[in-house]
Symmetry: C2
């Protein structure tokens, strides 16, 4: 297969670099000291019978984190990051993710519990493995790397050659070339990435093969790792032979199932190997990689890119390894695995030549220079083994005082990092916080999620055959189209709510003093606010909180308003406090009070200092990448201070409440205070009713209520509705400044997928 | 009741002028000669058991058109107009609406069929009336005018007085004052509006009381009209006495039911008079008015305004008529009714004084000057009876050669007028045509409709307890909110449709020639169009209709595109014709072909002349107030002509197709051609599938299809979807330039109200 020539001649370089990537990463849950937990897989992670992202591998303690496949490796890495953040934040307080492949602090064998999966066959398989390999070996973790070439590349290459008649045969041989060459040269990756130099002594059933203080490159890839009996040889010469030999070992009972074949390359695309004959190989799974303890997610993006290039090189090479070469490759792997991590490898020359060929390939396919740097750096590690992951790990273990100590230290460090911006999902930080929160819950509960348009916050969710689309965190198929149209139109909203019998404040507009006064009778004894139609800093506003008492006062207020505008409004004035009700379906899930930006004096600090202190709150930031916004000290705030006889340098008394804004918006530094439990139930019912009158599934209802303890009554002095919002903010409820957090995004998922318990 | 003083002192003038108005208008369906039809009530008008707008009165031939109540008289009048247009356009071709109150061309009594209502009691009541009054009297038609004072006025007046303790008593006496004074002075309205000077001879059971050639003011208000036995007197002194006396006449069998009491004023607000005692009078019904034959809708808006002022005057007056005065009023009515229409009335002085008082009232309440003019014009008619409606009618009958002839003439004229802009609903012409079409169907079928926001095309529909909202004619609760959000985002739309397995053309963007060419392999042998991202007059576009054949051609096309923009697109090119599929629910209701603006030569006329002739088409106009747009002859059209070697002065050959636009938009003069019946069903099913994949109830799907006769196949050369629209235009389907009309608005109603058959 002259792939290299075809790509060069037909300028297929860009297409050659395209593909699809998926990562699977195993790791042990451990306690703070690095010892493996004996607790069950956290129930927060939903059901393992379908969870696409968070599974268990062999043991109940052994997490398996799985990214969806992506066309960009960077996206796959974002998913790996996101799944990690979800897991880290969902673990019990005293549990951590162990960052090394070989276990430390193993419990006694009888306390290692195999994964308690629903399917009895899955459990039985694990029990069988225990018998054959012992439990300890099964506790080893690693990273599996799935790679698919661009189908367009394959069909283009196929159309450019004339050796093969069958497209499936061509595709199979292409992947087999990659697989065989990979097995031939895999030791290179082992040399660069190996990170299992040692393990605790009681890992071995008998006496440790390692002398005290002896280190190797990779125990995991040695015969002490999780490998098959060396007698088990499977041919990669053709798919037919692969299937035949694999089935042979299963038939004679040396393997209990095909999946017990632990090759560092697996041919993928079918449940049963035999199906590959028909479907063809769809992608390869590379299973060689130890966890990189220096990376929070077990692998760096640069290394993932290098592995991609390595896989490409395997088909770029002129030759295809035959069975003999494959066995040579395996032998070298075993040899290199047992080298000391600080020793130069015996095969450095072959490794360097291979990477030089890789550099030449990059040149030919027009790869970005960044990849060139990555490869050059790896190349240099053949001369300097201390720069390999294994080399660095050697020193790190010495420094930490032991293998388990290092693992424990790093485990704690990575967990702390995952909590730094606990309200965000770092990998998707360019999306809105509410969509990040939803993504968090989707990953946690195991709903298959595809981001259709990142900029537009558009997700496609899937569970079984059930598909739902979500935009902006809570805009879904459950809302009827007419609802947002109603809510967008204030006039229509008022009419609809009024028809449905809710307390809606009335307002009338007037274009002359005479006209307004002619309607005086309408407002007598009524609490109203008179204001210019376009208000400016509250100028021209008069509030008759106790009701209009006489025509003279009314006329005066009208005249004052007309000084500011050609049109004025006389509106029902609602006495009370504004609360935001977040309604989903038949329930008010959260009630929030928004308080204008403020600080409370302590008799010691200046206003400016108090603001700075309050702004230290972890939820406060720019207000878009954080749930709350820092309080500013601009013109408006200083004007507000002035009205209270204060400046930013004043020192308010202890307990003195200093207001920095008139408006209560969170976006101007306001506080969000959860009041869900305090609010009388009757108002919650009203908010639900308003939502239903709008035909909405999700709605943010703003009610003015004078006394949240009194049951609601059918008049404007008990309560009034001032607005209904069809895409209500969720973050202020999920992460309030004070009061209980209401995880609304979980309720959105429940609404969309009621079949999930 | 010193209403006048209270209004003056408290400046309640504006409030006094507010109220609520409803009109009911009876009229006979007639043939072209003015003779009454013997056909059944048209089934197009749906079910009379609930129809709020179109009912039958006594006879099956007697339409009763009912407006909903409105706060503005102008709106009530618009409804009256709209209902008329609907009825006129829905009548069989040979039927008309008779514009006069007294019937002409009466069938023999046995051929007059009483209204065939569902409720047997309703039919029995009519049979009873036949016995008591005979059929002919029941065939008389008129207008009933419902008027409610502003409830805020009443409660304000109540709070300003201290005679009454009970608000209901106060309200009742206010309306009773209006009723009694109305009965006292009703002759004034009769004098001005009377329009039943004669009737055909066989109307009378015996000998006609009118000598040959004798005319009176109002036969209808005389004892030959539809009036009770003079012995039946009902007291308006109080609600209690009203109820007692009315029940008395029913109890002793002189009236079969309360509704047989044909007073020119009815107290309204309860099914049974007795209920008024508790609820109070809610409004009054004035039943005095003959149809004005000079108005297409039986009454002019100015006259309706005058009647409103007259009703107000009745409570403005210092005195309240007592029972004696009421009887005096009735007597005068009878007297004036029998005066000759050209004679000065005997009570001209009283009439003039009353209208002078009305003018004084207008001054006091600050009424707009327009009302002043209306009253002054009426005032002048006391000196000049020829200007009254009756006076004008006298001359018109003479001129037409008879009563029936005049009626027939006007009936035909009004029907023709109703068809002038048959695609519109004149009264709601400020709304979109599609909403006008929907309103037409709603009125026809009898769905209670409220216009929530005219500017925003927002309707509230109601049938029984079932409420639906509609915006822009087809945006409803049946669409899920996520559907328009998907359709708004082209990237998401493509992904969703692709996932669902539909043929979606692919497109890729490139920012350099090198990058594009590096991807050449993707496009080889594929039909694509290469174009700058922002296209300008089609510059820089290359189409490879037969597929890209070689790298050189491709590179050249890419370079040409890059001359016009910094970014280019390579898109799948779909060979074929674009069709618009209008899908509602599970069905493609219409398929439309849009053809670019064009004319067909006749070997005689110039292009400019051909365009002018084509623009005469009744559907063509400005394109917003008409379904189609006139073809322009601007720069773009002339450029298009030039490309065909033509100018606007060229004379194309007979049958020569001259294209005036490259694009097929209706908004640039294109033709709309219905292809629903021609289109192969498989494509209609695909359009339905696309709609469902979007979760939409209503969707406009644009497909490119090379051959509409061939069944659809699963590849882009058979068909491709290029767009899905969530608020698809309906007018082009309802009123296509050629082909069958598809009344989509009716289907929207069926979707919203499946309970209607």
């Amino acid at each position: 297969m002259k792939i290299q020539q075809m790509i060069k001649q037909n300028q297929l370089g860009l297409l050659f670099q395209q593909g699809s990537f998926g990562l699977e990463k195993e790791s042990q849950r451990v306690y703070a000291d690095g010892s493996i937990v004996t607790t069950a897989h956290p129930s927060l992670f939903g059901n393992r019978s379908y969870h696409p992202y968070i599974q268990t591998d062999f043991a109940e303690s052994q997490l398996e984190l799985i990214t969806p496949p992506n066309k960009k490796l960077g996206d796959t890495y974002r998913w790996l990051s996101a799944i990690h953040e979800v897991v880290q934040r969902s673990l019990p307080d005293d549990e951590y993710i162990f960052p090394l492949s070989m276990p430390a602090g193993l419990p006694a064998e009888q306390h290692i519990q195999v994964a308690q999966l629903d399917n009895p066959e899955d459990v039985a398989y694990r029990e069988y493995l225990v018998k054959v390999y012992g439990k300890n070996k099964q506790m080893v973790s690693g990273i599996h790397y799935n790679f698919q070439l661009s189908p367009e590349l394959i069909s283009t290459l196929f159309s450019l050659q004339n050796t093969y008649q069958s497209a499936v045969d061509f595709q199979n041989d292409l992947y087999l070339k990659m697989a065989k060459n990979f097995l031939r040269y895999q030791w290179v990756l082992l040399y660069l990435f190996a990170a299992t130099p040692t393990v605790e002594e009681n890992y071995f059933s008998g006496v440790s093969p390692l002398k005290a203080g002896e280190y190797v490159r990779s125990l995991r890839s040695s015969r002490y790792g999780y490998v098959n009996d060396p007698e088990i040889k499977v041919s990669f010469d053709s798919v037919q032979q692969y299937v035949d030999t694999l089935e042979h070992w299963v038939a004679n009972g040396k393997l209990i199932a095909e999946k017990e074949f632990y090759s560092n390359v697996r041919l993928r695309g079918a449940k049963k190997a035999r199906e590959l004959l028909q479907n063809g190989i769809q992608y390869l799974e590379f299973r060689l990689f130890d966890l990189n303890p220096f990376e929070a997610y077990g692998i760096s993006l640069a290394d993932a890119k290098f592995i991609h290039l390595f896989a490409l090189l395997m088909i770029w090479l002129e030759d295809t390894a035959d069975q003999e070469a494959v066995e040579l490759g395996k032998a070298r792997l075993a040899e290199v695995a047992f080298e000391h991590p600080l020793d130069k490898t015996a095969y450095a020359e072959e490794g360097e030549l291979l990477l030089l060929e890789m550099l030449a390939m990059l040149e030919q396919i027009g790869a970005p220079s960044e990849l060139n740097s990555i490869v050059k750096e790896k190349l240099s590690q053949f001369a300097d083994p201390t720069q390999t992951i294994g080399g660095r790990l050697f020193y790190a273990i010495e420094q930490a005082g032991g293998y388990q100590q290092l693992g424990a230290q790093l485990a704690q460090q990575y967990k702390a990092q995952a909590f730094e911006r606990f309200y965000a999902l770092s990998a998707f930080d360019n999306m809105e916080l509410s969509t990040q929160a939803l993504l968090f819950d989707l990953i946690q509960k195991g709903i298959q999620t595809e981001i259709l348009d990142e900029h537009d916050q558009f997700l496609c969710l899937k569970h079984g055959e059930h598909i739902e689309y979500v935009k902006n965190g809570n805009m879904t198929s459950h809302d009827s189209y007419i609802s947002p149209l109603i809510m967008e139109n204030k006039v229509v909203t008022k009419k609809v709510l009024q028809k449905a019998g809710f307390n809606v404040p009335q307002s009338r507009e007037f274009t002359s003093v005479e006209q307004a006064v002619a309607n005086y009778a309408l407002f007598e004894h009524r609490a109203v606010v008179i204001k210019p139609k376009s208000t400016n800093y509250g100028l021209g506003i008069t509030i008759f909180q106790q009701g209009v008492q006489n025509r003279e006062d009314f006329t005066k207020a009208v005249e004052i308003a007309f000084r500011e505008d050609k049109e004025i409004m006389v509106e029902d004035y609602l006495v009370g406090t504004e609360y935001r009700f977040f309604v989903l379906g038949n329930e008010t899930l959260a009630v929030l009070l928004r308080v204008p930006a403020n600080v409370i004096g302590d008799g010691e600090h200046t206003v400016a200092e108090l603001v700075a202190m309050k702004n230290e709150h972890p939820l406060r930031g720019d207000g878009s990448r954080t749930p709350l916004k820092k309080i500013a000290l601009g013109e408006i705030e200083q004007l507000q201070l002035k009205e209270q006889g204060l400046t930013i340098d004043a020192i308010p008394m202890e307990g003195q409440r200093v207001q920095l804004r008139a408006n209560s918006n969170i976006s101007t530094g306001g506080d969000s205070i959860d009041m869900t439990d305090q609010m009388h139930d009757s108002y919650k019912q009203i908010a639900v009713g308003i939502t239903q009158a709008m035909g909405a599934a999700v709605c943010g209802v703003d009610l003015i209520i004078p006394d949240l303890n009194q049951p609601a009554q059918q008049n404007l002095s008990s309560w009034g509705v001032i607005e209904a919002n069809f895409n209500p903010m969720m973050m202020m409820h999920i992460f309030p400044y004070a009061g209980k957090s209401r995880r609304l995004t979980q309720q959105v998922i429940k609404m969309l997928f009621p079949e999930l318990q």
